[in-house]
Symmetry: C7
Subunit: 74 residues, 7 copies
């Protein structure tokens, strides 16, 4: 049966790899180890992507929810 609440996908993606898109088009991919109701998200072993290619490694990163556009389990 389908999920009913959007935040369920965040919970089920915890400790899994996700791609997060930010306003302006920047994407980060990494292990999601924390999130909150504002969609603030912490990734570990994260990489910044440009056109789907790895641009640079950034280690641990806190993405501010206000800047988040989408989150996709990888």
């Amino acid at each position: 049966m389908a999920e009913k609440r959007p935040f369920d996908i965040l919970n089920s993606s915890l400790n899994n790899t996700v791609i997060v898109g930010l306003k302006g088009g920047v994407e980060f991919r990494g292990l999601m180890v924390a999130y909150d109701v504002h969609m603030n998200i912490v990734l570990e072993n994260a990489e910044q992507l440009a056109n789907g290619e790895v641009k640079r490694g950034v280690g641990t990163i806190l993405l501010r929810g206000d800047s988040v556009t989408y989150i996709s389990p990888s």
Copy 2:
């Protein structure tokens, strides 16, 4: 008789294919399996579109309501 509340269209589109437009012009098409009052939306089997053409498959994706511009049943 015409629908009276905009969110009715979200409810009637649940588990159907929709196109979602985001700020900046990006579009995603997929099966809408969840939404909430903030217009946070979860699509499954989703594809990112560019000028109406499929740019890439993205599987499951949570689109943040604050970034959503429009939603259209496909």
Copy 3:
């Protein structure tokens, strides 16, 4: 006598054709079948316009109030 409240024009345009402008300059034209206090709007038989010309048909579409710039009865 002149109307006194801006939302009166939404009510009087219900089930009539309107043009809705969004942030970024995109316009949609269609039959307005629903709206709410946030200016979320549902159009049916809608078309996306570019410079006043029809760019594509989009059927039914929910436009998020936060993205709406103007609404004009057609």
Copy 4:
């Protein structure tokens, strides 16, 4: 004696011609027949301007307050 509250100018401009500037630089000129505390504004016999020249007639138009940058009695 000088006016003391910004909204006084809206009230005194009711049923007069005004120019309204929107975010992004678009301007509309028309007869202001309604406004509210959010600066939502309704113009009648309105025209869209580009660099001070008439670009097109738009008849009646509701401008969403959130998009309004300035209002000037014509």
Copy 5:
């Protein structure tokens, strides 16, 4: 002794000439005859500036606080 609250400068500039900068870089110069806590501002005998030069006269104008970036007594 220095002023302690930013709005003091608005009060002391009432009925004096100010330059107001808006988001996007547009500037207006005129006699400030009204303001409120949202920084909505009314200028009289106002001129729109471009790179410090007068672009056009606009008479009386209400600038929406949400669009205001800065205000400087002239």
Copy 6:
């Protein structure tokens, strides 16, 4: 020992020269004589900077907190 609250730096910079960055990349440098909890800031003897160079003197200026990106003691 390190400061614990971001606003401490505003308080300790009062009546000192600061550089304030605004959205869009504009910078102003001047003597900070007032601020409030919204980060509205008043500078005296202020100069607008472009790429670190003085572009023009602006005297006293009120910078609206909503537009402020950063503040740095000079």
Copy 7:
């Protein structure tokens, strides 16, 4: 065990070097000596970066939370 709340990473990064990304793509790197719930952040010995290279030293700087996009321990 993984952290559960995004702000934990701010607390654990206090008095350590972080990179902070702002809207528009500007980055600052420095010692984080203060933060609050709005993600207002104070860096000491800070440098502005452009494409990962040091563009200029800025000493102490208060970054306004509303402008912050991401924070990454260095």
